[in-house]
């Protein structure tokens, strides 16, 4: 049986969640591996959310916000963009592969793009194999 990764998607309400809804209304088919949690702004995403997801057995975390300049709250996404490299650095120290966490900008009109990102990330994480909290898949 092929490995079906579990990915937690944390999406901002205004652009990305709406974009994901658009993928639905335009019946774009994509992998069922991402489970979406809605926040008002990607700026709300705390690093602990990502860590919590891994702790609970997620194989990947996808964070989506409005494109830079399009933030519904002016510049919340810029804060996310600045926090992510720090978080990724820390995750790499835990042995969590870079590809398991992704930050993407998806606008309300990019239903196709959202579907493509989900498919791409699902395949990527599938290749990495299941995440193990004792030091990442690579270390067994």
């Amino acid at each position: 049986m092929t490995f079906e990764p579990k990915i937690v998607g944390i999406l901002c309400n205004w652009c990305s969640y709406t974009g994901a809804d658009l993928a639905g209304t335009s019946r774009k088919k994509y992998a069922p591996n991402v489970r979406i949690v809605r926040v008002m702004c990607s700026g709300r995403v705390e690093p602990t959310f990502v860590i919590k997801a891994f702790e609970r057995g997620a194989d990947g975390v996808l964070i989506c916000g409005c494109h830079i300049g399009d933030c519904h709250y002016q510049d919340g996404n810029k804060k996310t963009a600045r926090r992510m490299p720090l978080l990724k650095k820390m995750l790499s120290q835990f042995g969590i592969e870079d590809e398991r966490v992704r930050l993407e900008w998806v606008s309300a009109s990019e239903g196709d793009r959202f579907a493509a990102i989900v498919n791409e990330m699902t395949e990527q994480v599938r290749k990495l194999g299941p995440f193990k909290s004792n030091g990442g898949a690579a270390n067994g």
Partner: protein, 667 residues
């Protein structure tokens, strides 16, 4: 009180139930902790569906509700209301999106059902932590800003102003009127565009409740529904609006002649000019890029030209006698306070020079639709005579449909109005030049609308030649004596399955309507979203077609999608009604899902103050803690994520609630 949760799984007919096994999901939900009842039903949003929830709240004493159905963007307000009707605080409700983000996007029934279960589990875990919240009401500013002075903006402004409320009508150009003011006739009734529009324009100019801000742009917006503040840049007009009488003397004196935008460059205007014969405001404006004096001034030359001001004394021609010309005028920023905003910024015509093979800009006598509008207009550059560039009348005219529309190279969408205006052009040509042959080159005729199909039938009887085929090329390379001196339109006539060469004298390109290039910038200022095609995005195409995701901002007319005049006016009236409804209510509810700072935990580090995009957090110097201004906070949660002490609570999106949801989807 222990949570007592009711879970309702919607089939949405077969929309959800076709992929997700709803009874399995409700069985699963029934076994979750704190769940008192779980049901699945055909349509939860219907009256009987909502009654299920209401009855259970009353009979079973539910204190939390979860509905798994469509997107919360669709029906969250519906179900929140149902909870409220049954006496449950609306924030004790949570929705799981198992349609847009599950059944509609997956094909594997088993996996989709598993995903739906996970989403329901997340909602159940989350809702258990929800707290009742009270929305607050703040007073509503009854002034409205309408952006764009075309027919859409004019209609909306008049409806609101007529009800006795103040409207600021913002227009980037020197006069209101928009594209419609350029038209001669309107389809399908063929009534004169100016006869419909100019009385409305004049009324706007004279209305005591309308403050017309022409030649102005919005540069900044702050606040929220009911209480917006906008910064408006009034661009220098170099004319004292009070003194100018609109006599036009200055234009007669001005020595600089340049192509007139209002006539699509087919006619001329001066550097100081009145934009059109029916301009509102009917005042002059100086085009600083072309005015000799202002250009000279910019280059440091002291006193060039100024004929408009000084006149030509030795020929006994006085300059502006009203002394209205003011070369020292500067751009001015004014701030206005408004409660609602209607965006009616319209469209721009597709630029056909991008399609080289059609010859526009290269070959004489290839015109755009708008140019032809000016050619047939009695107040246009030819006084309404359809003439070629050499002044002669065309003997044959080809009208080419779908230029830039329904074309994967440019715009995929149909521009909706081109078939009809092309038919109008054909009619006007047959009427003005009965001996001229008229060809329509179309892909499909799309004549949906009241009286539109009838107009198409009428044109078929008026001797217009309809050729089903999209023109491939317009060339002046002729092959036969009949083609000599003509433009040849090459087309595949798909009804007779033959390539044809049509020799004509005039080609009209029925160009697409596309988003204005400043739409992106405007969307950023107003925090609106755009669609993939670049037009502004409505809140919901069917449930809320004139509203946007920003409360208090509405979109009408062609800035939302290509639209004809009847639809544009209907939308404008719809948006005006929405604004008036809010004004008559007098109050707006402000979001309860905002940030709150626990003063006992706050260390006063002030990190949150820099995070907030709305300057909603201030520092209390006495208590040495930070505090949130509830009216300014919009609930983005950026400060919550940044607080190192965990002192800020993002109501309805608390860390615990989001964590519970993450645990839930992973369960």
């Amino acid at each position: 009180m222990a949570p007592k949760i009711g879970v309702y799984i919607c089939h949405c007919g077969s929309n959800i139930a076709g992929i997700v096994d709803c009874s399995k999901v409700s069985d699963f939900a029934r076994a979750l902790p704190n769940v008192a009842v779980a049901r699945d039903y055909k349509y939860m949003c219907s009256d009987p569906g909502q009654n299920l929830i209401k009855d259970d709240i009353k009979k079973l004493g539910l204190n939390r509700v979860v509905v798994a159905s469509c997107s919360p963007r669709m029906h969250e307000p519906t179900f929140r209301r149902a909870c409220q009707d049954a006496g449950l605080n609306q924030y004790l409700f949570e929705m799981a999106n198992i349609r847009e983000q599950c059944s509609w996007v997956h094909t594997d029934k088993e996996m989709a059902t598993e995903k739906a279960k996970a989403l329901v589990a997340a909602a159940v875990k989350r809702v258990a932590l929800h707290e009742p919240l009270e929305t607050k009401e703040v007073s509503m500013n009854a002034n409205t800003l309408v952006i764009g002075g075309g027919v859409a903006g004019i209609q909306a402004a008049l409806e609101i102003a007529d009800s006795g409320h103040k409207v600021y009508l913002l227009e980037k150009d020197a006069s209101i009127g928009g594209h419609m003011a350029m038209f001669d006739k309107t389809f399908p009734t063929l009534d004169c565009a100016a006869c419909i529009l100019t009385p409305k324009m004049t009324t706007v100019g004279q209305h005591r409740n309308i403050e017309l801000l022409a030649n102005s742009e919005i540069t900044e917006l702050s606040g929220y529904v009911g209480n917006f503040k906008a910064k408006i840049k009034k661009k220098a007009r170099y004319i004292d609006m009070v003194k100018c009488t609109g006599c036009g003397r200055c234009s007669e004196l001005c020595p600089t002649s340049i192509p007139n935008e209002f006539d699509c460059g087919l006619g001329k205007r001066k550097a100081i000019y009145i934009p059109s014969p029916y301009a509102v405001p009917n005042k002059a404006i100086i085009d600083a890029k072309n005015c000799r004096h202002l250009k000279g001034k910019a280059e440091g030359k002291a006193d060039v030209c100024r004929l408009c001001q000084k006149g030509i004394p030795n020929r006994n021609q006085p300059g502006c006698e009203a002394e209205a010309i003011d070369f020292n005028q500067q751009d001015e920023i004014v701030e206005i306070e408004i409660g609602n905003i209607i965006v009616a910024t319209g469209f721009q015509q597709f630029d056909p020079t991008k399609i080289y093979q059609l010859g526009y800009g290269r070959l004489n006598n290839v015109f755009t639709g708008l140019e032809f509008e000016r050619l047939t207009n009695a107040s246009g550059p030819t006084n309404g005579k359809v003439l070629l560039k050499d002044g002669s009348e065309p003997k044959a005219v080809a009208i080419l449909h779908c230029i830039g529309s329904r074309d994967t190279n440019y715009h995929k969408y149909c521009s909706r109005v081109c078939c009809m205006y092309s038919l109008k052009f054909a009619h006007l040509l047959r009427e003005k030049l009965p001996d001229t042959a008229v060809y329509q080159l179309y892909i499909d005729m799309r004549c949906a609308g009241s009286g539109y199909e009838e107009f198409y039938e009428r044109l078929q009887e008026e001797g217009v030649n309809f050729i089903r085929g999209k023109a491939g090329e317009v060339t002046d390379l002729t092959e036969t004596p009949e083609e000599k001196g003509k433009l040849v339109v090459m087309v595949e006539d798909t009804l007779v399955r033959r390539k044809r060469r049509l020799p004509v004298d005039m080609v009209i390109l029925s160009c697409a309507l596309e988003p204005r290039p400043d739409t992106e910038q405007l969307a950023r200022i107003l925090t609106l979203s755009r669609k993939a095609d670049g037009f502004l995005l409505e809140k919901h195409p069917k449930l809320d077609p004139v509203a946007t995701t920003t409360d208090g901002i509405y979109i009408v007319g062609a800035c939302q999608s290509p639209k004809d005049i009847p639809d544009t006016v209907a939308q404008a009236s719809a948006a005006a009604a929405r604004v008036l409804a809010l004004i008559s209510k007098g109050k707006v509810e402000i979001e309860a899902a905002i940030a709150y700072i626990d003063e006992d935990k706050c260390a006063g580090c002030k990190i949150c103050i820099d995070m907030c995009p709305y300057k909603a957090i201030s520092f209390d110097e006495v208590k040495k803690v930070c505090r949130v201004n509830e009216a300014l906070c919009k609930g983005c949660g950026t400060c919550v994520a940044a607080c190192p002490a965990g002192a800020i609570k993002g109501r309805h999106f608390t860390t615990e609630e989001i964590m519970a949801e993450i645990e839930g989807v992973m369960a």
